[in-house]
Symmetry: none
Subunit: 229 residues, 2 copies
């Protein structure tokens, strides 16, 4: 998932790396329109770019995924999510890919992913680079991540882990919690953005099992209904 | 060692990847002069490009190295050198680098390395790509190769796992959720024991981070207070 990409060459490069390493499902969120149009000529990746889905919001773009992973150069930012080195993160992602969809997010060239973007993530991956020059070119970062993901590694056994909730359902839970927190007076207009990010991150770390989605939504809806009476 | 590179963006991208992964000694052989001049503006890699050595022949460029490795997309060419997959090749290269200099050659965008270029190589490395789309972008290929070379066996987690909530706090959360579910009418006396068990199990699987205990308890208490008004 490319979020807010500006440069058509980078978009094309990302698509080419996907094609090289056998990944097909490109999604773009809030792309710079000109970039998106111009990128469609990327060497060997035209078909992939033609079938790329465009989304208005990140929440919509990752709704059908059970794992959402952000990429970060770390830098001076205080990160609120767990950060794994690419190799460790890729192991986790490969395991998950056997049974469900995983979104890997790449931010814009200038600023990367915003804190709100990051709050959608279960964890972040970081390509270990030299501390004097942390920030990679976008197309190269995509290539390195997909190389590591496709690098042969036999599947590890998955013994009876519960199926994870989809990001779309999790966002529904997030919004219901926030509505209940607002209706009860815990949150006001001023505090809402900060609390929203914290709640979203918290819920992503909590790993709600898919089978309990109904229970969680049911309780929250009932509470909200009662609060609004 | 970049051999016959045409596109300044690729030359800049190669230099940037070198800088990211801690490689300093760029050599160029028969570059397209304009490309070489224009590349010098690459983000964060200007110094590296300024100090790049230019050589008329490949032989001269690799003269001080004890191991010369070519990169290849394989394709339809009959190769006369041993070809290793990147991972295996990188292991060999890392070992050699402890005691001497190793040259890694990248050919031009259109045709890669010529048979004459290849004849200078001890072996070739190949980034495993999809057979329908073998050929990588030059800058991305450099990035992937240098990533694999610099990948080390350091501990995996960077910003480790968040500290988990204590069982006592978790039970407090459990009870508050049940009280809220009861006050809202989701649970009644008959259904309570079964729901209580499900909620307790669910919360244990969800791994609430310790640092968020206050947030969770705060939201729940406020909701409960409002429900009971």
């Amino acid at each position: 998932v490319l979020v807010g990409t500006r440069n058509p060459l980078n978009m094309g490069a990302a698509a080419r790396a996907m094609s090289n390493f056998g990944f097909h499902d490109l999604r773009v969120v809030r792309p710079y329109e000109v970039a998106f149009r111009e990128a469609r000529s990327a060497v060997g990746a035209a078909a992939l770019l033609r079938s790329a889905e465009e989304h208005k919001t990140l929440a919509e773009a990752v709704a059908d995924c059970t794992l959402v992973v952000g990429t970060t150069a770390i830098g001076r930012r205080q990160l609120k999510q767990p950060v794994k080195r690419l190799e460790a993160g890729a192991k986790h992602i490969r395991k998950k890919l056997q049974s469900s969809r995983v979104a890997i997010l790449f931010g814009s060239e200038k600023v990367g992913l915003s804190n709100t973007d990051l709050s959608h993530c279960n964890f972040l991956i970081h390509v270990p680079t030299r501390k004097e020059h942390l920030s990679m070119n976008l197309g190269q970062s995509v290539a390195v991540c997909l190389y590591e993901l496709s690098r042969s590694a036999l599947p590890e056994a998955i013994a009876g882990k519960p199926e994870a909730i989809k990001a779309g359902d999790l966002e529904r839970v997030t919004q219901l919690v926030l509505e209940a927190a607002t209706a009860s007076g815990y949150v006001n207009d001023r505090s809402r953005p900060a609390i929203e990010q914290r709640v979203r991150r918290l819920l992503r770390r909590m790993r709600v099992p898919a089978e309990d989605t109904g229970l969680v939504l049911g309780i929250l809806r009932q509470i909200l209904w009662k609060l609004n009476q």
